[in-house]
C-alpha cells in the first residue's frame, strides 16, 4: 500500500548529525502526484449526491426530451430545405436544459468546497494548489464526456427508431453533419462543465457562480436573440451560440459561425476562464 517514509533519515550526501538526535518519527504520507490528486477528486465527486442527481437529470433531459420530441413527430420530418443534421439537432433540444444542470456540477465542484470550508483541508494537503484544479478538470471531463456521449447516441438511435416506426424520414449517422452533431453535443457539454468549474473557482460562491452561468448560457442568448440584428453582431460569439454551432442549437443565431470555428471560440472562453481560475487559485489566500 502506501510507502513508509522516514524523512529524517535522508540519503547519503548529508553530513551525519553532530549530536545524537532522536530519529524522525515515522510518517505514512507519500508524495503528491497528479494521479493521486485525480483519485482524490474522483472520491469526492463520486460520493456527492449532487453529482448523481445532476447526472440523472441531465440524462433524462437529453434522452427523454429527445425521444419526446421525436415521438411528437414534427422535427424529424426533414423538409427539402432542412438537412438531416438539423433534424438530429432538434432531437437534442434537451441539451438547452441539460447544459444548466451540467453547469451546476461544474460550479459546485469548486464553490461547494469554498462554501463548506473543505477547500482549506484540500489545499492544506496539496499546498501547490494547481494539481487540484487540473484534477477537477480531469474528473469532470472523465465523467461528462462519456456520459453525454452515450446519452447523445442513445437519443439519436431512440429518436430515429421512433421516427421511422411512424414512417418518417430515415436518418443515418453517415448523413452529412449527423455524426458531428451527435458527437458535438457531447463535446459542447464537456466544455460547458469546464466553464462552470472555472466560474466556481473564480467566484467561490455557489449562488454567484450559478447566476453568472445561467445568465451567460441561458438569459443573455435569449435576450440578445430578441434584439434587432443590427446591434447584435456579437451574438454568434456568445459562448452558447458559438458552441451551439457545433451541434446546431435550435437557439442558434443568424450568421452563426461554422461548426468547428464556433467550437474553437467556446474552447477559447474555457481556456481563458481556467487560466484566470488557476491564477486566482495560486495567488489568493484560500
Amino acid at each position: 500500500m502506501s510507502a513508509i517514509t522516514r524523512p529524517g533519515l535522508a540519503p547519503t550526501s548529508m553530513a551525519p548529525a553532530p549530536a545524537p538526535m532522536a530519529p524522525a518519527p515515522a510518517t505514512v504520507g507519500g508524495p503528491v502526484t497528479q494521479v493521486r490528486v485525480v483519485r482524490a477528486e474522483w472520491t469526492k465527486l463520486r460520493a456527492l449526491r449532487s453529482t448523481w442527481w445532476c447526472g440523472l437529470t441531465a440524462v433524462v433531459l437529453i434522452v427523454g426530451l429527445g425521444a419526446a420530441i421525436a415521438g411528437s413527430g414534427t422535427a424529424y420530418h426533414v423538409s427539402a430545405a432542412d438537412s438531416a443534421a438539423k433534424g438530429v439537432s432538434a432531437s437534442l433540444l434537451g441539451l438547452l436544459f441539460a447544459q444548466l444542470v451540467i453547469g451546476v456540477v461544474g460550479v459546485l465542484a469548486f464553490s461547494g468546497e469554498y462554501g463548506t470550508g473543505m477547500i482549506r483541508a484540500t489545499l492544506a494537503v496539496v499546498p501547490s494548489r494547481l494539481p487540484v484544479l487540473w484534477a477537477k478538470v480531469i474528473v469532470l471531463v472523465g465523467l461528462v464526456l462519456p456520459v453525454t456521449l452515450l446519452c447523445a447516441f442513445v437519443d439519436f438511435f431512440a429518436a430515429t427508431a421512433l421516427v421511422s416506426s411512424r414512417g418518417g424520414s430515415v436518418i443515418s449517422l453517415t448523413d452529412p453533419g449527423v455524426l458531428r452533431t451527435v458527437v458535438g453535443s457531447s463535446l459542447y457539454l464537456t466544455v460547458v462543465v469546464i466553464i462552470g468549474l472555472a466560474l466556481g473557482a473564480l467566484l467561490r460562491k455557489t449562488a454567484a457562480g450559478l447566476a453568472v452561468f445561467a445568465a451567460v448560457f441561458f438569459v443573455i442568448p435569449i435576450v440578445v436573440g430578441a434584439l434587432p440584428q443590427n446591434i447584435t453582431g456579437f451574438a454568434p460569439y456568445l459562448p452558447s451560440n458559438a458552441g451551439g454551432a457545433l451541434w446546431g442549437s435550435p437557439l442558434g443565431t443568424a450568421h452563426a459561425l461554422s461548426p468547428w470555428a464556433g467550437f474553437a471560440v467556446l474552447c477559447g472562453y474555457a481556456v481563458v476562464l481556467i487560466a484566470l481560475a488557476a491564477w486566482r487559485l495560486r495567488s489568493r489566500d484560500a
Binding site: 502506501s2 524523512p7 510518517t27 463548506t116 473543505m118 492544506a124 494537503v125
Partner: protein, 304 residues
C-alpha cells in the same frame, strides 16, 4: 520543527500578524495562547500555506511547506471543525484527503478509530455535532502521521472526555518526537496540555517561555496571607526592603516579597502566634489577562 521569522500579514490597512518570530521545537507540546482575534488562526493558516504572508517566512521541518514533496508527511493541520464537506461521509472526507498522498483505506480506518468515530464514520459529516466535527478534523490532521501537527483550538466543542483524549493524544505525539503546536484562548487549558508557550497579543509576540516559567513569573505578586493577633509586631518584624506588608485593619496581613517559610520562621523565633499562613497565587487566567491586557483589541466595555 516550525520556524517563523518576521511573519507579517496585513489585510488592507489592518495588520493581523505583526513581525512574529518564534520556533516551535519537536518533542514537546507548544501552546499558542492569546485572546480571540489576535492572529493565532491567521498565523496557523500561514504555516499551512493557505494564507500568503505579507512578509516574513515560515519553515516547516526546515522546508518551505507549499513546496514540500510529501505534504501530508510533513504537516497535519486542524484549522476548524468546519473544514469538511457536509455532503460527504466522515470516511469519504478522510479518504479524499488521504488519496492525495497515496494513503490507503487501512490508515483511514485507523484514524477513524483513533478519533473515536468508528460508529459514525459512514454518516454524512454535515450531521455531526461540533465535537464530532473536531474529532474528524483531528483525524484528518493525523492521516499522514505528520512530523508536525498544528491544531487550532482543538478542544472547542469537546466534552470532558474529548478534552482528555486531546491532551493524551498531544502528549503521545510529542513523545514520538513530533512537533505539536496547539492554540487556545484558555490559559488553564494550556497549563494542563502544553510544556512550552508562545503568547500572542494583537498580532505581536508577547512572550515565549515554558509554561512553568510563565506561570511562576505571572503568578508572583500573589504573596502570603498571615492571620495573627499580633499584626503590628509581626508587621514590624517582617519589614525589610523589597517586602511589603499590608494590614487592612483586621487580624490579616497580606505580605509580598517573601515566602511563607520565611514568615513562619520569623514568627516562631519571635514567639508570635500565627493562626494561618497561606501562600496565594494569582489564578492562571488572571496571570494571562495581566500579560495580555494591553493587547486585547476589543475590550468588552468598549462596545456600546
Amino acid at each position: 520543527m516550525i520556524e517563523i521569522d518576521g511573519l507579517t500579514k496585513r489585510y488592507g490597512d489592518k495588520t493581523a500578524v505583526d513581525g512574529l518570530s518564534f520556533v516551535v521545537e519537536p518533542g514537546v507540546v507548544t501552546g499558542f495562547l492569546g485572546p480571540n482575534g489576535t492572529g493565532k488562526s491567521t498565523t496557523m493558516r500561514m504555516i499551512a500555506g493557505l494564507d500568503r504572508p505579507t512578509s516574513g517566512t515560515v519553515r516547516v521541518n526546515s522546508k518551505h511547506y507549499p513546496g514540500a514533496a510529501a505534504p501530508m508527511a510533513e504537516l497535519g493541520i486542524l484549522l476548524d471543525a468546519r473544514s469538511v464537506h457536509p455532503g460527504l461521509s466522515a470516511r469519504n472526507n478522510l479518504l479524499a484527503l488521504a488519496r492525495t498522498a497515496g494513503i490507503g483505506r487501512r490508515r483511514v480506518d485507523e484514524v477513524i478509530e483513533l478519533a473515536g468515530l468508528g460508529e459514525v464514520a459512514g454518516g454524512r459529516a454535515g450531521g455531526f455535532s461540533l465535537g464530532m466535527g473536531q474529532r474528524l478534523g483531528v483525524a484528518a490532521a493525523l492521516l499522514g502521521r505528520p512530523q508536525s501537527v498544528v491544531l487550532d483550538e482543538p478542544v472547542n466543542g469537546l466534552d470532558p472526555d474529548g478534552v482528555r483524549w486531546i491532551r493524551l493524544l498531544l502528549k503521545s505525539l510529542a513523545d514520538e518526537g513530533r512537533t505539536v503546536f496547539v492554540s487556545s484562548h484558555l490559559m488553564s487549558e494550556m497549563a494542563q496540555t502544553a510544556t512550552q508557550l508562545v503568547v500572542l497579543g494583537r498580532g505581536k509576540l508577547i512572550t515565549e517561555a515554558s509554561v512553568e516559567d510563565f506561570v511562576d513569573h505571572a503568578t508572583t505578586g500573589g504573596g502570603v496571607l498571615v492571620r495573627t493577633p499580633e499584626t503590628v509586631r509581626l508587621g514590624q518584624l517582617l519589614a525589610a526592603p523589597g517586602i511589603t506588608v499590608i494590614n487592612d485593619g483586621t487580624d490579616l496581613l497580606r505580605v509580598s516579597g517573601t515566602t511563607a517559610e520565611q514568615i513562619g520562621i520569623a514568627a516562631w523565633r519571635a514567639h508570635l502566634p500565627v493562626y494561618e499562613l497561606t501562600p496565594t497565587h494569582a489564578s492562571l487566567e488572571e496571570a494571562f489577562m495581566q500579560v495580555t491586557k494591553d493587547s486585547i483589541e476589543y475590550h468588552a466595555g468598549a462596545t456600546r
